[in-house]
């Protein structure tokens, strides 16, 4: 079950990123015809990010301690001290933007240039932050594997 949680966390992050791209494209082509679609897409972003937060929070606060010890004893201790510590707090930026996105999308982005720019900016920032966080997660994951090898631990895969 813990493996499912650990893999579902980045999966919902990626789904949130993809939904943000969807919002960006809909906003780029904003019209009266796609108003409701933008709002649906914005709510999908929020839902995915909230689920990613819950799953990642469980992983970070409950499951991560043994992996942290392995990383710190391995060749890449900075993967925890810098990458994981930055990632864990950086996540709140796209989370806040994801909470804001459906609120911004309540404005008529087909008629208001300002609302359209804000929705596109928020969606783009979620994508960029999300990709950085996904990459950071991959570095942390690799650092755990490197720690296992470095410490001669086998069978942990």
């Amino acid at each position: 079950m813990n493996d499912v949680i650990l893999h579902a966390h980045p999966t919902f992050g990626v789904l949130g990123i993809l939904a943000s791209v969807w919002v960006f494209v809909e906003a780029l082509n904003a019209s009266e015809a796609n108003r409701s679609r933008v709002r649906v897409a914005a709510f999908v972003v929020t839902a995915c990010m909230l689920i990613a937060w819950a799953l990642g929070g469980y992983g970070y606060t409950v499951l991560y301690a043994p992996e942290k010890a392995i990383i710190l004893a391995g060749p890449w201790p900075w993967a925890h001290n810098f990458v994981m510590e930055t990632k864990a707090r950086l996540f709140f930026i796209p989370l806040i933007l994801a909470l804001y996105l459906p609120i911004a999308a309540t404005a008529n982005i087909a008629r208001s240039r300002g609302a359209r720019i804000v929705v596109m900016a928020a969606a783009a920032l979620i994508v960029l932050n999300g990709l950085a966080i996904e990459g950071a997660g991959a570095v942390v994951d690799y650092a755990v594997s490197a720690g296992f090898v470095h410490n001669g631990i086998t069978g942990a895969q």
Binding site: F92, I93, Y100, G114, A121, A122
Partner: protein, 112 residues
């Protein structure tokens, strides 16, 4: 004869944002910066870190709830005050806050 094109009723009307889109937008800017400031404070102030841990069992958990609470409370506050802002200005603030907050987090964790 007329050189002025007819006004399209469906065309964009203005750049100004009002209501929740404006109020919560400014709240998002502040909450993003608050997130980084709180991370700095947690790292230098051990009693604060311990207090945050005591509230929810883990300082990171409290950190997240605090950032979201700042966003929601300030969002309602600014909206109730009738805050208005140009959309392009708000977008620029969101981008600037994200760059400053993200860069500030990374730089801080490199330095400590």
């Amino acid at each position: 004869m007329s050189a002025v094109p007819p006004v399209d009723a469906g065309a964009e009307t203005n750049d100004a944002l009002k209501g929740p889109a404006a109020g919560f937008g400014l709240a998002a800017v502040i909450a993003i910066l608050f997130n980084t400031a709180l991370a700095w404070a947690e790292n230098v102030d051990e009693p604060l870190n311990a207090y945050m841990a005591s509230l929810s069992g883990d300082p990171w958990r409290t950190h997240g709830f605090a950032a979201v609470a700042v966003f929601i409370v300030l969002g309602y506050f600014f909206t109730s005050r009738g805050f208005r802002i140009d959309g392009s200005r708000l977008a620029a603030l969101l981008v600037a806050a994200s760059i400053v907050a993200g860069g500030g987090l990374a730089l801080w964790l490199v330095l400590i």
